[in-house]
Each structure stands twice: as structure tokens, then as C-alpha cells.
Amino acid sequence: MDILYLLIPLSIVLAFLIGAVFWWSVKSGQYDDLEGPAHRILHDDDSRNRIDD
């Protein structure tokens, strides 16, 4: 059971990491438009110019 001494702190680090990633994804506007991107992928071509807000 000694592995728990490693795993428990690791889980905390992981949780904070996930939180940080989610924070970034919200800030970069990924949840502002939940419908458009799902369709956008079907019209794939070189629409290279995007503004991330």
C-alpha cells in the first residue's frame, strides 16, 4: 500500500492540471459556440485564417 503515498499526491497534481487545461479552454472561447465547429469540420478546406477569441 506504500504506493498510495505517491498516488494520492499525484492525483492532486493531476486534478490541478486538468483544472488548468479547462481554464485555458474556457478562456480561449472553446465553449462560446458549441454548434458551429461541429459543422465546420465537414466543410474542410484550407480555411487557415481564424481569430481565436
Partner: protein
């Protein structure tokens, strides 16, 4: 918008319909486009120009990708691609263009005409290929676009023009503070919810072994480690996610009115501090998992509530930005037609503006020159365009669908009908309805009671078993749920008001929804309410071999161009007739005379028309005495008699029928003659009516009804029957356009359809039912949960689950008011959704 078809050519485009916009191709139209080796028929020059622009840019795959037709550009297109240069001026750009870098500019735009995801693709691709444009992003959900360009290589007007060329309309959009704050609120709420969710899951992982393990199975140091881990993960949940509850509680306490945030904040803080103390000292129980779970579920309910609130506010925002920012002012009108582009705010009363087809009228005004059609769907919910002839009033925010029009400015800015509408709706939103005031007061008392109960329970348990005092006090604080009172009721009312508005019924007073739902008597005015308020052909009696259609055709040929309401009614009834009349002569007060297909005809009063054939004997006309008779006669004698009367609205009978079915008493009050009123009552199926009443008598009648305990809903035209409207508990005015501002009613039926009223009643009843259900539920839940918690049967985590489940149930129940189909967004204002 949803459910995009997998088939590339999901939109059928056969020969009879325009390949671009899907409207029928008129006979004789010769607009076409060769695409993929096939000739495609198009309906108009506008569509042809747009389709050519799309194909010319190499974007023809749009036609395979789309799953919906775009809005038709109609003939409007070549006209409107002018005067965009005004947007290149720095002083105009101030509000919506941001400068980034030396030459780089970025603008926020509203895109109109986006109907399916392929439109987004088409616009993005088209714009990003323009020289000088460095980036484009379109948000499909909000129809907002952001464009970045190099000021040396292109200009904003070129970009706007490019959007118009492919059949869409882009307007600069002043990124308002409201929008920005809303986006921030939505983002931070999502983040708080995520942090709480993440913390809850992880803390639960540490807690579950403690529930399952037998005594001594987990080593003391592992247990301590898990406590510390729980503490570390709950800390952000309490400090960040639960912050709105703490600040809300603080605000409530400062105002001296405890709301539901107070017990929540106390419960969270108490449980967390006690658990933290236990973690530091190593003695006592920890409740971190309860804290995290409680915060998460509460935030979940708040998040749903916020989304519903934003959706409801969308409609208001949509209305308030409907007036265009610029206008074409005619500099020296009667003398020449030179225009200058000015900001709409710079217009003043008496100016003349030129409105091209497809453009939005920037102000309320009178049509000075140019017969046209206006799409007033924004203000009335009615998507059929309304004919406008010279002298007619046009409403700012409606769209010119016909010809170029010169409008004399009558009202600008704040004073326009559209602004009044927005103000009325805002007033309703800010007024605290009685229902909510009551629930707020109850909630305040309830919370005080809960705080007292928690303190009492803690004191009692201190005497019995000091170790259990704190968890029980926390459980009491947490388990109780006033959410039905303080969260769900305002949400139900806001959602209901927005759904009603989309349906053509504007709520202008806070109490209206509740009172309309409780109304027992519906009192209708006759003229302009149950009837259309203007004459229509109710009966045609023909003589000889003439058919009804022929008679109407001949009459319409004579009356075409007539300004007289009776003449217009005949033209309207005939529909479109191609027979031209020659040698037309109008005799004031008598009628019209002219030649149609070589026959000399007269139409008008009986004596006047029959002069056409002096020797003929006039047959007796049969028909209701209340109707006006118009005679049509030729040289060989009378051809037909048209009976014109103020016709009953087509949906009046069905509306009255449904109200009666719902057990409402329907009464007709009118100042008109008894026989006219009797006819209307019979046609609509109203049993009880009073004729020949003055406004004071109407008011007295309503008063008598009320003294017998009736809740009266009065439906009138809003201007002439103000005293009765004021007397009734809830009043609905049939008003639109210019009369809107004067309408002193609790609700305004801008759709002019009685069907909307009945739908509205249905929706209000449903909203009230949901509010009641929530209150019953909250009452039953608290009556059971509170004693159990005081008695110590509820652990803090069970209390958190119970309270969260209860508030979620209440919020989800409140969302039902919106009904299916009503949650859809609107594109151009023509979409009227909502199943009532």
C-alpha cells in the same frame, strides 16, 4: 439548424424553383446560371448576381454543402451595394473597430441571413480570400463575425460589399458592454462549475474508501494523507467556485434581507471550517466531499438558470439593435435626389431619407414617394409584407421589400415605435411581479426560520452529544431548499415573457402573466379587436350570367389605384387582376367610371352606378343592413352588388371557441349598433354581448363583473377604450406601430392575431402551473427534510444530495415552460416559434 443532413444535395432544386433561394420562379423570368454543365433557373436578378458571385469566386460547392436555402436577396441587391463607404470613416468606426498593430484593424460584425452551417463556410471562405483580409471568424451560435484586415490593402466597406455580393448582410456591431459582461458571466460560471465538479469527483475518491473500509483497515497515516488531499482539493472549490454564494450572502445580510445564499454560505463555511480544523488537529470528522458536492450541484442549477435568462434577454437585444446605424439623407429633397450617408442619430424630424429595397427603415415616418411593401415581422410577428402607398406610415425596423422609397422622418431614436416596444418590455422585466414579491418575502422568513432551527438544533445537541452538534447544524442549513421560491419563480416568468414575445404577445407589466392565467372572464371589444377594423367584402351578389370572380375582377379594374378604403377592400378581395381600365374618372363621393374590355362601367353608390343604364330596373339587394353596398353596373344594367362590412377576423371564432372550452366566460362589449354587434357575436360564437355602450358603461359593466369575483381580462384596441382597459385586472391591447407607445395595457398583441392571444393564455396557464408545482414540491420536501435533519437522521452529505436534487428538479421543471420548439433562435425576426 440542428440535424444537418448527410446528403450533400439535401435541398431539392427543381426547375420551377430558384436554384439559389428556392422561391418559385415567376413565369417569363429568364435568369439562369450554368453550373456543373446544367442550366439552373433563377428567380430574379438579385439571385443571379449572388449566384454568379459565388460561382465566380470558385465557391460553388456551397450548393452541395448547404442543407437550407438562404434568404432571398430579391431584386434588392444591385441597389444596396452603395454607400457603405461611410463605414470607412474613422469617426464612424470608433465603436466597433479595434486597431491592433500599425495597419491592422479588427471589426465586430453582425451577419444577417445565416441559415445553415454552409453559410458560415461560404462567408468565411469568401472573405478570407479577399486581398488584405488576414483572418475571419464567424460564430454560428450568435451570428457574430470578427474580421481582421490590413488597412493598406483593403477597407471595411470592401469587406461589407463582399458579404453583400454573396447575398448576406453584414453590419458593424458595437460590441456592447452588455454582451461582453454576459460572455464573462457565462465563462466564469462554467469554470466555477468545472472546478467544483472536478473537486467533487476527486474528493469523493478519497472519501469512499473511508465509507467502505472496516475499522482499522486504513492506516492512520494514509487516512491523514487522504484528509489533507481532500482539504487541498476542496480549498479551490470553496474559495473560487462557492464565491458567488458568499458574496450573495454578504449582500443579503447588508440589505438586511436574508436570501437563500445565507444558509448556503453558512453551511459551506461551517462544514469546511470544521473539516479543516479536524484535518489540522487530526481529531473529528471531515465533510469535504459533502461541501464539494453541495457547491457543484447548486452551481449546476444556477448555470441552467443563467442560460435560460440569457436566452430570454436575447430577444430584447435582438430588437434593440434592429435599427440601422446609418441612413441616406436626401439633401435637397423635392428639388433633387442627391443623398448623403449620415448616422441615423443625426436625423431630425422633417428630414427626408431614401430607403433602398432590402434596407431597413431607420426611423418612423411617412412614405413620401414610391409605393412599396414593408416587412414588419419584427414588430408584429407577421411575415407577410404589408403594402404601403404614398402617405402611409412606415415603422423603423421594418424592412423595405418593394421599391426605393422616400420617407419623411416623423420620429427618431428614442421616440420610434421599436424603442417604445423595447422600453415596454424592459419595464416588465424590471417590475417585480406580485407573485415574486410574495415568494421573496416567504423565502426571507423561511431562511430566518432555518437559521433559527439550525441554531436551536445545535444547542439541543450540544446538551445531548456535543460531537454531533456541528454536523447536525450543518445538515439543517444544507438540507433546506428555498430554491423554488428564489430561483425558479423569476426564471419561469422571464422564460414565459420571452416565449410570449416571440409569439407576438408583448408583456409590458410584471403581473400580466400571472393575472392572464387566472382570468375567468374575457371581455372583447368589437371594432379592431374581433373584427379587422377596416372594411372587407363580406358578400358578392351578381346579376345575370356574371360570376363572382368576373364581377370582382371588373370592379377591381376600376378601383385599382383608388385611395378609398372601400375601393381598396374590393381590390384586395379580387386579388391580382390584369384587366386594365381606361378612361377612368373618379367622382368624389359617388364612385368611379371607366372602360374595361370595351364596356363602359360604373361603380359606386347605387344611384350613381345605375345611371350607366337608366332604363334598367334595379333588383333588390339582399344582405345585412349593417353592410355598405357598392354597385357595379354596365350599359346593359346592374352587374353585381358588393356588401362591405368590417369583417370578423378569420381566427376569431376559433379563439373564442378555445377560451370557452377552457371554461372562460367570453363577453362582447361594443359601442356599435345592436344588429352589427349581434352579427359579430353570432359569427364568433359569443353568447353574451352588450351593444351601444359608452366607455363609462363598459367600465361599469367590468366593475359589476369584478364585484361578483370575476378576474377580467379586457381585450381592446388600446387607444379608444383606455378606461375599460384600466378597470380590468389584466388588459391586452391590439396595437402596433405608432399606437404602441400610447397603449396603456398590461400586454400588447403586436401580431394582431387572436390565435397568439389564445396561445399566450395557454402558456401563462402553464407557467403558473409550473410555479405552483415548484412551490408545492418545495413545501413537501422541506416539511419532511427539516425535522429529519434536526433529529439527526441526515448526514451532511445526504443533506447536500437532497437539497441539490430538490433544486435541480425545480429548475428543470421551470425550463419546461419554454416548451418544445420555442428554444430555437431567430434569424431575421420572421421566425415565430413557440407552441404556446
Amino acid at each position: 439548424m440542428r440535424g444537418m443532413s448527410a446528403q450533400p444535395a439535401a435541398v431539392p432544386a427543381n426547375a420551377a424553383h430558384c436554384y439559389h433561394c428556392g422561391l418559385p420562379v415567376p413565369d417569363g423570368a429568364r435568369f439562369a446560371l450554368v453550373l456543373g454543365g446544367e442550366s439552373r433557373a433563377l428567380c430574379c436578378a438579385g439571385c443571379e448576381a449572388v449566384a454568379r458571385a459565388i460561382v465566380g469566386a470558385g465557391l460553388e460547392s456551397y450548393y452541395r454543402k448547404r442543407d437550407r436555402f438562404p434568404d432571398s436577396p430579391r431584386e434588392a441587391l444591385p441597389e444596396v451595394v452603395r454607400d457603405l463607404a461611410v463605414f470607412d470613416r474613422p469617426e464612424v468606426q470608433g465603436g466597433f473597430v479595434s486597431v491592433s498593430g500599425e495597419h491592422e484593424r479588427e471589426a465586430a460584425l453582425i451577419l444577417e441571413g445565416i441559415t445553415c452551417p454552409a453559410c458560415v463556410w461560404l462567408n468565411e471562405t469568401h472573405l478570407s480570400r479577399l486581398p488584405g483580409v488576414s483572418a475571419v471568424h464567424i460564430n454560428y451560435a450568435t451570428r457574430r463575425a470578427r474580421v481582421r484586415w490590413d488597412a493598406r490593402a483593403t477597407s471595411l466597406s470592401k469587406i461589407l460589399r463582399a458579404v453583400r455580393a454573396i447575398g448576406y448582410r453584414a453590419y458593424p456591431y458595437d460590441a456592447q458592454a452588455l454582451e461582453e459582461s454576459r460572455r464573462r458571466e457565462s465563462r466564469s460560471m462554467l469554470l466555477r462549475l468545472a472546478v467544483a465538479g472536478l473537486g467533487m469527483m476527486q474528493v469523493m475518491m478519497y472519501a469512499v474508501p473511508g465509507y467502505l473500509a472496516a475499522e482499522g483497515e486504513i492506516g492512520a497515516d494514509i487516512a491523514a494523507l487522504m484528509r489533507w488531499a481532500s482539504f487541498a482539493l476542496t480549498l479551490p472549490v470553496v474559495l473560487y467556485s462557492a464565491l458567488p454564494f458568499f458574496s450573495g450572502a454578504l449582500r443579503d445580510l447588508r440589505a438586511g434581507r436574508p436570501g437563500m445564499d445565507v444558509p448556503v454560505a453558512l453551511g459551506v463555511a461551517g462544514a469546511f471550517l470544521a473539516s479543516a480544523a479536524a484535518t489540522f488537529t487530526g481529531k473529528g470528522e471531515v465533510y469535504f466531499e459533502s461541501v464539494a458536492m453541495f457547491v457543484f450541484f447548486l452551481l449546476g442549477g444556477r448555470y441552467l438558470e443563467m442560460r435560460a435568462r440569457h436566452k430570454a434577454a436575447d430577444y430584447l437585444e435582438f430588437l434593440s439593435r434592429a435599427l440601422p446605424a446609418t441612413a441616406n439623407r436626401l439633401v435637397n429633397f423635392p428639388l433633387c435626389l442627391n443623398t448623403e450617408s449620415v448616422s441615423a442619430a443625426a436625423l431630425s424630424v422633417g428630414d427626408y431619407v431614401l430607403v433602398h429595397p432590402g434596407e431597413t427603415f431607420p426611423v418612423d415616418g411617412l412614405l413620401e414617394q414610391g409605393d412599396t411593401e414593408a416587412d414588419e415581422s419584427l414588430l408584429t410577428g407577421e411575415s407577410t409584407a404589408v403594402e404601403k402607398s404614398e402617405g402611409a406610415a412606415v415603422i423603423g425596423g421594418s424592412v423595405n421589400r418593394g421599391n426605393p422609397a422616400v420617407v419623411r422622418v416623423e420620429r427618431v431614436g428614442e421616440h420610434t415605435a421599436l424603442s417604445s416596444l423595447v422600453r415596454l418590455m424592459e419595464r416588465a422585466a424590471h417590475e417585480r411581479p406580485r407573485l415574486q414579491e410574495i415568494t421573496d418575502r416567504v423565502a426571507g422568513r423561511f431562511v430566518t426560520f432555518v437559521l433559527a432551527a439550525a441554531a436551536a438544533a445545535a444547542l439541543v445537541w450540544l446538551a445531548i452529544d456535543p460531537a454531533r452538534a456541528l454536523p447536525i447544524a450543518v445538515a439543517v442549513l444544507v438540507v433546506t431548499c428555498p430554491c423554488a421560491l428564489s430561483l425558479a419563480t423569476p426564471m419561469v416568468l422571464a422564460v414565459a415573457a420571452a416565449t410570449l414575445a416571440r409569439n407576438g404577445l408583448i408583456v409590458t407589466r410584471g403581473h400580466a402573466i400571472e393575472t392572464l392565467a387566472r382570468a375567468t372572464h374575457f371581455v372583447f371589444d368589437k371594432t379592431g379587436t374581433l373584427t379587422a377594423g377596416r372594411p372587407g367584402v363580406v358578400r358578392v351578389q351578381t346579376f345575370g350570367a356574371t360570376t363572382r370572380k368576373e364581377a370582382l375582377g371588373l370592379a377591381a379594374a376600376l378601383e385599382r389605384g383608388s385611395e378609398h378604403p372601400l375601393g381598396r377592400a374590393i381590390v384586395e378581395a379580387a386579388g391580382w387582376s390584369s384587366t386594365p381600365a381606361t378612361r377612368l374618372r373618379s367622382l368624389a363621393g359617388q364612385g368611379m367610371q371607366g372602360e374595361v374590355e370595351g364596356r363602359r362601367l360604373r361603380i359606386g353608390r347605387k344611384a350613381f352606378a345605375l345611371e350607366a343604364a337608366p332604363q334598367a330596373i334595379a333588383p333588390a339587394a339582399e344582405g345585412p343592413a349593417s353592410a355598405t353596398e357598392i354597385w357595379l353596373a354596365g350599359e346593359s344594367g346592374p352587374i353585381a352588388v358588393f356588401a362591405l362590412a368590417d369583417a370578423v377576423r378569420a381566427d376569431a371564432r376559433a379563439a373564442v371557441g378555445e377560451l370557452r372550452e377552457r371554461g372562460k366566460e367570453v363577453v362582447l362589449l361594443s359601442g356599435d349598433r345592436e344588429d352589427a354587434v349581434r352579427t359579430v357575436a353570432a359569427e364568433t360564437g359569443i353568447a353574451e354581448f352588450r351593444a351601444g355602450l359608452t366607455p363609462e358603461q363598459k367600465q361599469a359593466f367590468v366593475k359589476t363583473l369584478q364585484s361578483r369575483g370575476a378576474v377580467v381580462a379586457m381585450v381592446g384596441d388600446g387607444v379608444n377604450d383606455a378606461p375599460v382597459l384600466a378597470q380590468a385586472q389584466v388588459s391586452v391591447a391590439m396595437a402596433s406601430g405608432t399606437a404602441l407607445a400610447q397603449a396603456a395595457a398590461d400586454m400588447v398583441l403586436i401580431s394582431h392575431r387572436l390565435e397568439s392571444l389564445v396561445r399566450g393564455v395557454r402558456l401563462c396557464v402553464r407557467a403558473l402551473r409550473v410555479v405552483r408545482q415548484n412551490l408545492y414540491w418545495a413545501f413537501a420536501y422541506n416539511v419532511i427534510a427539516l425535522p429529519l435533519a434536526c433529529a439527526g437522521y441526515v448526514t451532511p452529505w445526504l443533506a447536500a444530495v437532497g437539497m441539490s436534487a430538490s433544486s435541480l428538479a425545480v429548475v428543470l421543471n421551470a425550463l419546461r415552460v419554454r416548451g418544445k420548439g420555442a428554444s430555437g433562435e431567430w434569424r431575421t425576426g420572421t421566425t415565430v416559434t413557440g407552441d404556446g
